[in-house]
C-alpha cells in the first residue's frame, strides 16, 4: 500500500494546481477578453457614476419609485455582500404578519384596493432579486403617478417598454428590471436624491 503514497500526493498537488489555478485563470482571461462587462458585474452608470449592477436589486421605499421585492438580507435589505432568503416556512406566522404589512403598504396609494401580486409582497430567494413581475410593476403605477405628478398612462407605457419577455420566448418568466425602470423614471422626471 506504500506504493500509493507518491501518486496520491503528487497527483493531488498537480490536479489541484490545474483545476484550482490554471482553470480559473484561463476562464478569467477569456472573460476579460470576450465578456468584460458581464464578468465585471454588469454595472450601470449615470452621469459617469456607478449606480449599481443591473443584476442586483436595490432597496426602494419612497412613494415615487417602483419598489423591489422584499429582501431578507441582514442587517439591511438588498445587502449584496450577504445574500439570503427569509427561509420562512409557508405556515410560519412571521410570514403572514410580514405579508399583511406589505399588502397594506402597497395598497396605500393604489388605484383600487385589489389583490396585490404575490411577488412584490414575498421575499426573493437571494434577497437581491433585480426584477419584479409586470403585474407587480403595474400595480404600483397609481402611487408613483401621484408622487411624481405624472399620468398613469405615461407610467404604464414606461413599464410596458421595460418588460423583458421570456428568454427565447419560452424560458423563465416575464419581468421588469426595477433599477433600470427607476433610472428611466428619473430620466423622465428627475426626483431629488434620497427623497
Amino acid at each position: 500500500m506504500k506504493q500509493h503514497l507518491r501518486p496520491a500526493l503528487f497527483l493531488f498537488v498537480s490536479l489541484s494546481l490545474l483545476t484550482g489555478l490554471v482553470y480559473p485563470l484561463l476562464v478569467s482571461a477569456i472573460g476579460q477578453t470576450a465578456f468584460a462587462k458581464q464578468a465585471g458585474g454588469s454595472l450601470l452608470t449615470r452621469d459617469g457614476e456607478i449606480v449599481g449592477s443591473r443584476l442586483i436589486g436595490q432597496h426602494f421605499s419612497s412613494p415615487g419609485y417602483f419598489w423591489s421585492r422584499p429582501s431578507a438580507t441582514a442587517p439591511y435589505p438588498n445587502n449584496a455582500a450577504a445574500s439570503s432568503g427569509s427561509n420562512l416556512g409557508p405556515l410560519n406566522p412571521a410570514l403572514s404578519d410580514a405579508v399583511k404589512q406589505r399588502v397594506a403598504a402597497l395598497q396605500t396609494g393604489a388605484a383600487s384596493p385589489s389583490a396585490v401580486p404575490v411577488d412584490v409582497v414575498t421575499n426573493s430567494a437571494s434577497g437581491l432579486d433585480p426584477d419584479i413581475s409586470p403585474a407587480g410593476a403595474y400595480f404600483q403605477v397609481a402611487r408613483i403617478a401621484h408622487a411624481r405628478h405624472l399620468t398613469a398612462d405615461q407610467l404604464n407605457a414606461l413599464v410596458t417598454a421595460h418588460i423583458e419577455g421570456r428568454q427565447f420566448g419560452v424560458l423563465g418568466e416575464p419581468r421588469v428590471n426595477v433599477l433600470e425602470l427607476n433610472l428611466a423614471l428619473d430620466a423622465l422626471q428627475p426626483q431629488q436624491r434620497g427623497q
Partner: protein
C-alpha cells in the same frame, strides 16, 4: 399546469435525451484515453502527470488496492481543504480580508466538499477568500466528481469483465475524468455562463452609490468591535443611513460551471444559484439544470456501451426519467397552487401573462414557479444540492419532493457516478427479488448474484437510512439540535430531517433556516457525510471486485431480461418501495402533517 410550464419541462427533457448518447460516447472514449482531438491535445499532459506522480498507467489494481488509493487521495483532500481554510487569513487573493475559519466549521466544510456533498454551514461571500474558493473548494468540486466517475466505471468494469482480479487503475481513472471530461466541459460552460452575466474577476468588493438611501439599525460596536450596552444593560442599537451598496465579487463563473457539472452544488455565494451573479438569466438557469444531469445521463449510455448492450443503459435511463417526470409534476403542481394562508390576506397568486403567481416566497422573479420547481427536483434527484429557490419556503408537498428524492438515495440520474452506481445496486436487488419470486438464482448482465454481493448491497441499502433516521432521532432529543430550528411546528422537524437526509446522501441542499453552523451540527453532519459517502463506495468497490472475478454465464430461458418494460417497472418498484417503507413514518411527522394543517387552514 400551464402550456408554458409543460413546454419548459419538455424542452429540458428533449435536450437531455439528445445529449445522452453523445455524452455517453464521449465518456466511454475519454475513460479509455482514446478521444480523437482532445486526446492528441491533452495526451502529453496526461502522460506528464503520470511521470511526475510515478504512475504506471498499464498497471491495474484489485478492488482493495483501488479502494485504498481512493481513500488515501480523499483523505489528503480533506486535510488540504481544512488547512487552506484555517490559513486563508495569511494567504493571498483575499481582498475582503476574510479571517481563519473555526475548527468545527472548517472540518465540516472539508468533509462536505470532499464527499461531493457541498453542504454549507457558512455563507460564501462573508467567509471564504477567493483563494479558498478556488484552490480548496473548486478543486474538490473536480476531484470529488472524478472520484464518483472512477467508482462507477470500476463497478461497470466488474460487470463487463470476467474471471479477472482487477477493476482498473484509480490514478488513471481520476486523471482521465478530470482532464478529458470535467475540465473541458467546465471551460465551455463557464464561458456560456459569463455570456449570460455570471461574474468572473478578482476585484475587491465593489461599492456603488444607490439611487435611494436605506435606514436601518444594528447593534452598536465600540472601538474594539465589541457590542456596547445602553443604560439598561441591553445591547445598544445605532441607526445608520446608508447610500451605498457593496457588491460581492469573485471568480464565480469558473466555480459555477464545475459546481453544476460535478453535481457538487456548493455556491460561491450564500444564496447559491438564486444569486443573480451565479445565475442571472433563465437561459443560464437552463444551462445549469442541464449541466446537473448531463454526465449522470451520459454515464447510463456509457454503461450500456461497456457491458456490450446499449439497451441495458437505456433501461436504466428510462426508469430514472419516469421517476423524474412524476416527481417534477408533483413539485410543479404544489408550488403553482400557492399558499392558502397568503390568499386570505389579499395576495394575488394566480398565474397570468403578467406574473407567474404561486408560492413566490423564496423564489426569484426571473425563474418564477416553473423553473424553480424544476430546479428543486433536478438538484435533489441528482446529488447536486445547488438551489435557485429557498427550499425552506417551499409548500409542504413542494418540499416533500426534494426530501424524498434525496432519501431514495439520489438514483434519479443522481450524482456524477454515485447516481448510477447506487441505481445499479437497486438493479441487483430488483433481479434478486425477481429471482426469489420465481425460485431461480438471480443473475444480472451475465453475472450470478450471490451471497457476498447481496450482503454488500444490504449494507449499501442500510447505511443512509440509519444515518438519516438515527441522526434525526438523536438531534431532536438534544437541546443543541433543537436550538437550530428556525420555523415552528412540523416544519421545524422537517428542517432537521432534511439536513440529515441531505448530508447522508451527499446532496448539500438545505432547509436553510436551520442554524447549522454550530459545533454540534458541524460534527454530526460531517460524520453523516463521510459515512454516507465512503460507507457506500467501499461495498460498491467490493462488489465490483467480486463481479470481475466471476465467470460470465450465457443467458438461458429462465433469465430475466433486464432491458424491457418489465424490468424497468420492477426497478422503479424496488426503488419506490424501499424508499417508501423506510421513510414514510418520518415524512408523516414532517411535510405530511404540515400539508394537512395547511389544507385545514391552521
Amino acid at each position: 399546469m400551464s402550456t408554458n410550464a409543460l413546454l419548459q419541462v419538455a424542452i429540458y427533457l428533449a435536450a437531455l435525451l439528445l445529449l445522452t448518447k453523445p455524452m455517453g460516447l464521449y465518456l466511454h472514449r475519454a475513460m479509455e484515453g482514446r478521444l480523437p482531438v482532445l486526446g492528441k491535445l491533452l495526451g502529453p499532459l496526461e502522460r506528464l502527470l503520470y511521470r511526475v506522480s510515478g504512475v504506471n498507467p498499464q498497471q491495474e489494481m484489485g478492488w482493495k488496492s483501488y479502494t485504498f488509493a481512493l481513500l488515501l487521495f480523499n483523505a489528503i483532500g480533506v486535510l488540504a481543504v481544512f488547512l487552506l481554510q484555517r490559513w486563508q487569513g495569511s494567504l493571498p487573493l483575499n481582498p475582503a480580508g476574510m479571517g481563519e475559519i473555526s475548527l468545527d466549521s472548517a472540518f465540516n466544510t472539508a468533509v462536505s466538499f470532499v464527499t461531493n456533498t457541498n453542504w454549507q454551514g457558512y455563507a460564501g461571500e462573508s467567509t471564504m477568500s477567493y483563494l479558498t474558493q478556488m484552490l480548496a473548494l473548486a478543486v474538490q468540486n473536480f476531484l470529488s466528481a472524478a472520484t464518483g466517475i472512477a467508482v462507477v466505471i470500476a463497478l461497470i468494469r466488474g460487470f463487463a469483465r470476467h474471471s479477472v482480479a482487477t477493476i482498473g487503475n484509480f490514478w488513471v481513472d481520476m486523471t482521465r475524468s478530470t482532464l478529458y471530461v470535467l475540465l473541458p466541459l467546465s471551460v465551455l460552460l463557464a464561458v456560456l455562463l459569463m455570456g449570460q452575466g455570471v461574474i468572473q474577476n478578482f476585484n475587491p468588493y465593489q461599492q456603488v452609490n444607490t439611487l435611494e438611501s436605506v435606514t436601518y439599525s444594528q447593534p452598536a460596536l465600540d472601538a474594539q468591535g465589541q457590542p456596547t450596552l445602553d443604560g439598561d444593560g441591553k445591547p445598544a442599537q445605532e441607526t445608520i443611513t446608508s447610500h451605498t451598496q457593496t457588491l460581492a465579487m469573485g471568480p464565480v463563473a469558473s466555480q459555477e460551471a464545475i459546481k453544476m457539472l460535478g453535481t457538487n452544488g456548493g455556491g460561491f455565494f450564500n444564496a447559491n444559484s438564486a444569486h443573480p451573479f451565479e445565475n442571472p438569466t433563465p437561459f443560464s438557469n437552463f444551462l445549469e439544470m442541464l449541466a446537473i444531469f448531463l454526465i449522470p445521463a451520459g454515464l447510463c449510455y456509457a454503461f450500456g456501451l461497456m457491458v456490450g448492450d446499449r439497451r441495458q443503459g437505456w433501461a436504466i435511463w428510462t426508469a430514472m426519467a419516469l421517476l423524474f417526470v412524476t416527481m417534477t409534476a408533483v413539485s410543479l403542481w404544489a408550488e403553482q397552487d400557492g399558499n392558502p394562508v397568503l390568499a386570505s390576506l389579499g395576495v394575488d397568486q394566480t398565474s397570468s401573462a403578467l406574473q407567474s403567481g404561486g408560492n413566490m416566497e423564496g423564489k426569484e422573479t426571473r425563474f418564477g414557479i416553473t423553473t424553480s420547481a424544476l430546479f428543486a427536483t433536478i438538484t435533489t434527484a441528482a446529488s447536486c444540492g445547488a438551489v435557485n429557490t429557498m427550499h425552506d419556503s417551499l409548500t409542504p408537498l413542494g418540499g416533500l419532493v426534494p426530501l424524498w428524492l434525496m432519501q431514495l438515495g439520489e438514483v434519479v440520474f443522481g450524482g456524477v457516478g454515485s447516481g448510477l452506481y447506487t441505481m445499479l445496486i437497486y438493479a441487483v436487488i430488483a433481479v434478486f427479488v425477481a429471482g426469489l419470486m420465481i425460485g431461480r438464482t438471480p443473475e444480472y448482465l451475465g453475472k450470478k448474484i450471490e451471497i457476498f454481493e447481496m450482503k454488500m448491497s444490504a449494507v449499501i441499502l442500510l447505511v443512509t437510512p440509519i444515518l438519516v433516521l438515527a441522526g434525526t432521532a438523536i438531534t431532536v432529543m438534544l437541546s443543541a439540535g433543537l436550538a437550530g430550528i428556525a420555523n415552528p411546528g412540523a416544519h421545524g422537524f422537517t428542517e432537521i430531517l432534511y439536513a440529515l437526509s441531505s448530508a447522508a446522501n451527499n446532496n448539500g441542499s438545505a432547509f436553510a433556516g436551520l442554524s447549522a453552523n454550530t459545533p454540534f451540527y458541524n460534527l454530526l453532519l460531517a460524520v453523516a457525510m463521510a459515512v454516507g459517502r465512503f460507507g457506500i463506495i467501499i461495498p460498491i468497490l467490493a462488489i465490483a471486485g467480486a463481479l470481475a472475478a466471476k465467470k460470465r454465464i450465457t443467458p438461458g430461458l429462465g433469465t430475466l431480461p433486464t432491458h424491457g418494460p418489465l424490468f424497468i417497472a420492477l426497478l422503479i418498484g424496488t426503488v419506490v418501495l424501499v424508499g417508501a417503507l423506510t421513510y414514510v413514518p418520518a415524512l408523516a411527522l414532517g411535510p405530511v402533517i404540515e400539508h394537512l394543517q395547511m389544507v385545514a387552514g391552521h
